[in-house]
């Protein structure tokens, strides 16, 4: 692999990126416009859809940050090709922070604890109002974004610094920062999952919930990064950097997180199923009846079994076409997973139904937020070398790549 070029997207790749960015921007604009229309027409059905799409894209941004810091800590050749896309992915938190503003308007539509008339009749919610109230919720959310944005920009700035320097001081700082950063990210990720998702059903709680959401986000991020890397590697300069070994490494990571996701999901289910307590089991009753059981089955088949069996085999991780198909499947199923987590929340556990009307709404919101984020992501990615040029581990990684395939 040659490191002689400056690795900035040029030529054919640049053209493709420009085109994609334009389409994404157009899709985002259209999606947001339609979302606005949907909101005015069906406000109650719209907010859960918007929340699903919003958490999907925030999750990807957080996953990018987390995996970047993980790579700074443990190294490994897998991170080399995805570091820059991940850094840019972290920066999409900037538009996402703005996109939270409409959500803040719809809190009372989403959360039972934000509806004073409901709280008045519910002693449980009155007890919990110390934590679950609109003001504190917004303060916490602002706090998460401040922390995330500070970390995202520091990660980017130091990484860009490194490109221009011969010594490894920025890399050292990055490594130093990543330990505490990861701890902080894990905590804020957990609490944002509790605030945004778990409190949709304020009577229910599960200690693994934060972990479960974070693992799902990391898995989706890996899938997205595989798709991005394969997209980029169709042209120079990334074509040379993306070897089957790299895809293999990323595929292995995706396999690991697929297993972790299935493990945590199943453990939560098993414990609550065995316990069968009235304050816990309704959460699953809502999600395993009235059509939702088929969604749950689809999740276990296509969020776990199918990717698991495909990724189990070495050869399938080394073919870019196949692994991209798996990655897109995982991304789609992550979206279905979020729908499964969010949408049934407001239903009656005795007779939940799949509200099919929300499906197009959800697609519209996905398009709007996703288009905007993607456009921002590409814009950020275009301006920088696609590979961290002066990373101290770069040489090591290149050397290692030769030996990897033989094991």
């Amino acid at each position: 692999m040659s490191v002689s070029t400056n690795m900035i997207a040029e030529g054919e790749l640049r053209l493709r990126l420009d085109r994609f960015q334009w389409w994404a921007l157009a899709a985002g604009g259209l999606g947001l416009f339609l979302s606005l229309a949907a909101w005015s027409l069906w406000p109650e059905q719209f907010w859960p859809s918007y929340l699903v799409a919003y958490v999907f894209w925030v999750g990807l941004a957080l996953g990018c940050m987390g995996l970047t810091m993980l790579h700074h800590l443990v190294g490994g050749s897998w991170g080399l090709v995805v570091r820059r896309p991940m850094e840019s992915g972290g920066m999409t938190l900037l538009p996402l922070a703005l996109l939270f503003v409409p959500l803040a308007l719809g809190l009372s539509q989403l959360y039972p604890w934000a509806r004073p008339e409901e709280v008045a009749h519910d002693p449980q919610l009155q007890h919990k109002s110390l934590y679950l109230n609109v003001g504190f919720y917004l303060v916490r959310t602002v706090g998460y974004f401040v922390i995330w944005l500070v970390f995202a920009s520091v990660l980017n700035r130091l990484s860009s610094d490194q490109d221009r320097r011969a010594d490894h001081r920025p890399s050292g700082k990055l490594q130093w920062l990543s330990g505490p950063g990861l701890v902080l990210l894990f905590l804020t990720g957990t609490f944002s999952a509790i605030d945004w998702l778990m409190s949709l059903e304020p009577h229910w709680s599960s200690t693994i919930y934060g972990c479960l959401v974070i693992v799902g986000e990391a898995l989706a991020t890996l899938a997205m990064m595989i798709a991005v890397v394969v997209f980029l590697s169709a042209d120079q300069p990334m074509a040379e950097a993306t070897t089957p070994d790299r895809l293999n490494d990323l595929g292995n990571l995706m396999l690991t997180f697929t297993i972790l996701w299935a493990y945590m999901s199943f453990m939560q289910y098993l414990i609550i199923w065995c316990g069968n307590l009235p304050e816990e089991i309704p959460w699953y009753l809502r999600r395993t009846r009235g059509g939702w059981q088929w969604v749950a089955l689809a999740l276990s088949l296509f969020h776990f079994f199918l990717p698991f069996f495909v990724l189990l085999f070495r050869e399938s991780k080394r073919q870019s076409r196949l692994i991209v198909q798996v990655a897109i499947l995982v991304l789609a199923m992550h979206w279905v997973d979020l729908i499964w987590l969010v949408v049934p929340a407001s239903s009656d556990p005795a007779s939940p139904r799949i509200p099919w009307v929300e499906l197009p709404l959800s697609l519209v919101a996905m398009l709007g937020i996703g288009g905007l984020c993607t456009a921002f992501f590409i814009g950020h990615l275009k301006g920088r070398p696609l590979i961290p040029l002066n990373d101290p581990h770069l040489n090591e990684v290149i050397e290692h790549a030769g030996g990897l395939g033989q094991r």
């Binding site: 490894h168 693994i208 493990y263 065995c274 316990g275």
Partner: protein, 473 residues
């Protein structure tokens, strides 16, 4: 070749996984000499003697137990799970590091595993053996232990598959079997080395018998490597499943403080945490006593310290989530256990000691100077060992001694026999460890040779690259 790379300022370069200057021959000779040449010395006898004496105490405690029943222990309503379960979970947890180090690090291609995997695996086996004793003894009638297994009996009865205690039987016995297989398969080439180098006729027979006629054929190595890698791939999820199942013993019960969904991952992390602490506890004196500084380098210590830091933080996250969710859920029972009884109840001192050992002290591992100091790390690992025992004590006792019915609240204390059994298993563990050190290679010889080979290749490649870069510029 002693060519120094100009880029070699990263930590990985500064402390290699193998001290320079070793060849295939020297690693083979040095490690096999530990078994074949080194004469018995007083230190070894002293260690074995202490272990043996404690093992005798264990046998005494077990005999008394068999004669009198579990009444000699401190268990009684409402705390019917006392030391036996605490010790079981503690030992099983320790038993996690060995197979995990071997398997996961092999899959992750971490070459620093090579010099610690063998004795870590042995540690796993011995720890699982100690762990297995406790539930069996706790049965009350240990001699009918086979009732736990599904077999065609005249009562036409089957185990209760919905009970996590039966899951435990399968998980622990599978884990013991797979760990043994993994360990033994790893040992085969080394047993062949010992067979070929044995001076003593009987040693030759015994090692030769165990080596099964291994002759290092290329085709054999090919299948061997695949099988070993697949075993590692199987062992990794197995390790995770075993402690998850152990955690389900608690979570499936609907007791406050037990019925918590974070338990499986947090128990697994805790197990790795305590397991690595035990590896450090053994590795540091071992390398001092046998001069293994070349093989167990500072890099190993630092890496183990990093794993301990990471898993310790996950454990702390588990404590935090339990406490927060208790507060958040507003469940009065959960709140009482998590926010009143544990931190401020009659066992508060245990709880705070646990937090000190498991959460506060391990934060020192953020400092590189602590991570690279053998003595400092050893002391810290000791605290973790204690802390993880206390964690299980807190979980088991504080949830039981104040359950839903205040009229049956009571205190629990271990009796002399509880302590005798616990220290007895420590002795059993110690004895087995000392016997292992004496009779089997503590470091994988064949993998060490492979490491020498890879190191040489790396150096050659680096030298080549350097020379070509030189000509370009």
């Amino acid at each position: 070749m002693t060519h120094r790379d100009p880029e070699s300022d990263s930590a990985a370069e500064a402390s290699p996984v193998l001290a320079p200057g070793h060849t295939y021959g020297t690693v083979t000779d040095k490690i096999s000499a530990l078994v074949l040449v080194r004469p018995y010395n007083w230190r070894w006898f002293l260690g074995l003697g202490v272990g043996f004496a404690l093992t005798m105490m264990l046998l005494l405690a077990i005999t008394v137990l068999l004669v009198h029943g579990v009444g000699i222990w401190g268990v009684d309503v409402p705390v019917m799970w006392g030391f036996a379960i605490v010790n079981f979970v503690w030992w099983i947890g320790i038993g996690h590091a060995g197979t995990l180090i071997s398997a996961i690090l092999l899959l992750l291609k971490q070459d620093w595993r090579t010099s610690i995997n063998r004795f870590a695996e042995a540690m796993t086996l011995f720890a699982v053996a100690c762990a297995g004793l406790f539930p069996l003894l706790h049965l009350g009638r240990p001699w009918v232990f086979y009732w736990l297994l599904p077999y065609p009996n005249t009562m036409a009865l089957w185990p209760q598959w919905r009970s996590p205690l039966i899951w435990d039987v399968f998980a622990v016995s599978t884990y013991a079997t797979v760990s043994l297989l993994f360990w033994y398969v790893g040992l085969i080439p080394d047993l062949a080395t010992l067979r070929d180098r044995a001076k003593n006729r009987w040693a030759g027979y015994i090692y030769g018998f165990l080596a099964m006629g291994w002759r290092g054929s290329a085709r054999h190595w090919h299948r061997y490597r695949t099988a070993y890698l697949l075993l590692a791939g199987l062992a990794t999820p197995l390790v995770v499943s075993v402690h998850s199942v152990v955690s389900l013993d608690f979570t499936v019960a609907i007791l406050p403080g037990w019925h918590s969904t974070i338990f499986p991952p947090y128990f697994v992390a805790g197990a790795i945490f305590s397991g690595f602490a035990m590896v450090v506890t053994i590795a540091v004196p071992l390398r001092a006593a046998y001069g293994l500084h070349d093989f167990i380098t500072t890099r190993h210590l630092e890496n183990m310290a990093k794993v301990m830091l990471a898993t310790g933080l996950i454990v702390a996250y588990g404590y935090l989530m339990e406490a927060f969710t208790a507060w958040y859920s507003h469940d009065p029972y959960e709140r009482f256990v998590q926010l009143a009884n544990r931190p401020f109840g009659p066992y508060a001192h245990t709880y705070w000691m646990m937090l000190t050992c498991n959460v506060f002290i391990p934060q020192l591992l953020w400092f590189r100077s602590v991570r690279t100091s053998a003595l400092g790390l050893w002391v810290l690992a000791f605290f973790v060992n204690i802390g993880m025992w206390l964690e299980r004590y807190v979980i088991v006792i504080t949830s039981l001694h104040r359950d839903f019915l205040p009229s049956s609240w009571a205190m629990y204390h271990g009796t002399v026999w509880d302590y005798a059994t616990y220290y007895g298993t420590l002795g059993l563990f110690l004895s087995l460890m000392f016997l292992f050190i004496r009779f089997l290679p503590v470091i994988s010889i064949s993998e060490m040779r492979e490491l020498v080979h890879e190191t040489e290749q790396d150096q050659e490649r680096r030298a080549e690259q350097l020379s070509t870069e030189g000509t370009v510029s």
